[in-house]
Amino acid sequence: MRRRVSFPYVGWMAVFVVVPMVLVLGFSFTSADGGFTFENFSEMTKYAPVFARSIWLAFLSTVICLIIGYPAALVMSREKPIVASAALMLLMLPMWMNFLLRTYAWMSILENNGFLNQLLGALKLPPVAIINTDGAVLLGMVYNYLPFMILPIHTVLHKMDKHLLEAASDLGADSVKAFARVILPLTLPGVLSGVTMVFVPSVSTFVISKLLGGGKTMMLGDLIEMQFTGNAYNPYLGSAISLVMMVMVLASMTIMNRFGDGEESAVMM
């Protein structure tokens, strides 16, 4: 019975998950003339700066999301339920709009004679040149991925038994100690989910860097895209880069799961 019910899912997984993975794996070790090779990987070394940049920017965007998102989730959890759900709603609302559209919107805000600079001009302030910088890329990533940080943290905070804070206070903990000894450890699984859910799309993003970074500053996502659709056309190298990125993400998730102390971690939600 259980087998029969699970069959469609197994089928789905086989066709849309396992097969593509195997293809990527195969392509990675294939040379342009179809033979077996490690060349794709050795060729990758010349893109080391792109790797470094992507990881660095993804790291920054994750940290910024955490710095903004954690307090936001904390504040939300202390509000009345109606206020909290309203805040959650506002947070989700932009996510229902197309990702490209949102990013184009930022482009027109940040442009040299865009909305921001017009506003600054109207206030008699000097214009800023943000568009086509790493700052703009970061801004785009933080804007797009912040909800993925807040939501899992909010979820664990929401589920946390409020009596635990009373118990901590009863045992002599002021609000700082209660945070450090009770709230923080109990929300760690949420933080780990949030970090993963922000870092993974950040490290592989290509639209944001293209639109807001002006394409000059390449990231891993752009590099891979180029191998498949650009003039550089080389799907074998593209597959190899994807494979390396996947291994990196998997490795970092495994390490973070260790921090989460097994049973209570919910990294994959």
Binding site: H163, E166, D170, L171, K177, R181
Partner: protein, 347 residues
């Protein structure tokens, strides 16, 4: 028993327009074992939370050692709580749960160890220190909660139905244990229960509450022998409560008959509540002040509980001798076993 330690003065608590506590006045003496007793939802936990600092009364004052503490947060009060819902920390094991307060107080590591193990032994959970709290049964969790509070040696311990999840035998053992701790260490206990037997056997003072109002404060003997109203009489042990009319001092009519009693000071023809405890009836095979028929008999261990219809009322009677169902019996009561209570006119 010495000086007054905690005083609640005219404490009123209102939640969402509902008056949950109505003008609570209560004095708790240092080193006293005081029990709040009352039915579910009467406001026991709320009273305890006011003393613990988790609620601020809507109006009224709370004094601790003569100082008004209405706005003092819980972590600055010399009070620890055993919560009704335990509230153990799920991310810490048993040892660390109990050590929590000591670590905050920066107690030395070796002392933490001895004190935690000591209190674990006290609640009979030696050897459980490495366990995670969700691996424990409800009763074990409850005992960890007790250990976590006691280990801090607070001046006042608030216990919210701390033995509710334990089986009868363990419950009795823990009652003796807690009472011993309270007397040896000299901690003031404010204890919440809805088990009247527990309240009577453990306490120095019992506070009976109903609907957010204190009904009576007194020693267990006072409360049991001299209940101030029908509610207290009914709540403390099962009772027969019936309406009656005072004819004169020491002369009351109920169930259509005149009885001699010992109460004075009521008005002539005043409507009163008459309370007779089941164990105070004298059952005879014939004669007696009332004659009745046995409706049912239940064996209760030490005694039989019988429902006897007499003079148009059903009486609950406890006796060590049983009578067969359907038998005609006589019922009598001694004058000092008839308790006359003023009618609550408000209800």
């Amino acid at each position: 028993m010495s000086k007054d330690l905690i005083r609640l003065i005219d404490c009123v608590m209102v939640f969402d327009d509902d008056v949950i506590l109505d003008k609570i006045n209560l004095t708790i003496k240092n080193q006293e074992f005081l029990t709040l007793l009352g039915p579910s939802g009467c406001g026991k936990t709320t009273t305890l939370r006011i003393i613990g600092g988790f609620e601020t009364p809507t109006s009224g004052d709370v004094f601790f050692d003569g100082v008004r503490i209405n706005n003092v947060p819980p972590h600055k009060r010399r009070v620890n709580t055993v919560f009704q819902k335990y509230a153990l920390f799920p991310h810490l094991n048993v040892f660390e749960n109990i050590a929590f307060g000591l670590r905050i107080a920066k107690v030395r590591e070796d002392e933490i160890k001895t004190r935690v193990l000591e209190s674990l032994a006290l609640v009979g959970l030696r050897g459980y220190e490495k366990r995670r709290v969700h691996q424990l049964s409800g009763g074990q969790q409850q005992r960890v909660a007790i250990a976590r509070a006691i280990v801090n040696r607070p001046q006042v311990l608030l216990l919210d139905e701390p033995l509710g999840a334990l089986d009868l035998k363990l419950r009795k053992e823990m009652q003796i244990e807690l009472k011993a701790i309270q007397q040896q260490v000299g901690i003031t206990f404010i204890y919440v229960t809805h088990d009247q037997e527990e309240a009577l056997t453990m306490s120095d003072t019992v506070v009976v509450m109903n609907n957010g109002v204190i009904q009576q404060v007194g020693t267990p003997q006072d409360i049991y022998n001299e209940p101030q109203n029908a509610f207290v009489a009914d709540f403390i042990g099962e009772s027969n409560i019936i309406g009656g009319i005072m004819n004169a001092d020491r002369d009351v009519t109920f169930a259509g008959k005149r009885f001699e009693c010992v109460d004075t000071g009521f008005g002539k023809d005043e409507n009163v509540d008459v309370v007779i405890r089941p164990e105070d009836f004298i059952v005879t095979e014939d004669g007696g002040q009332m004659s009745g028929i046995v409706r049912s008999v239940t064996f209760k261990g030490v005694h039989y509980e019988m429902m006897i219809d007499a003079e148009g009322f059903g009486w609950m009677v406890h006796s060590t001798l049983s009578q067969p169902v359907g038998a005609k019996v006589g019922l009598s009561v001694k004058p000092f076993d008839i308790h006359i209570m003023r009618r609550e006119t408000s209800e």
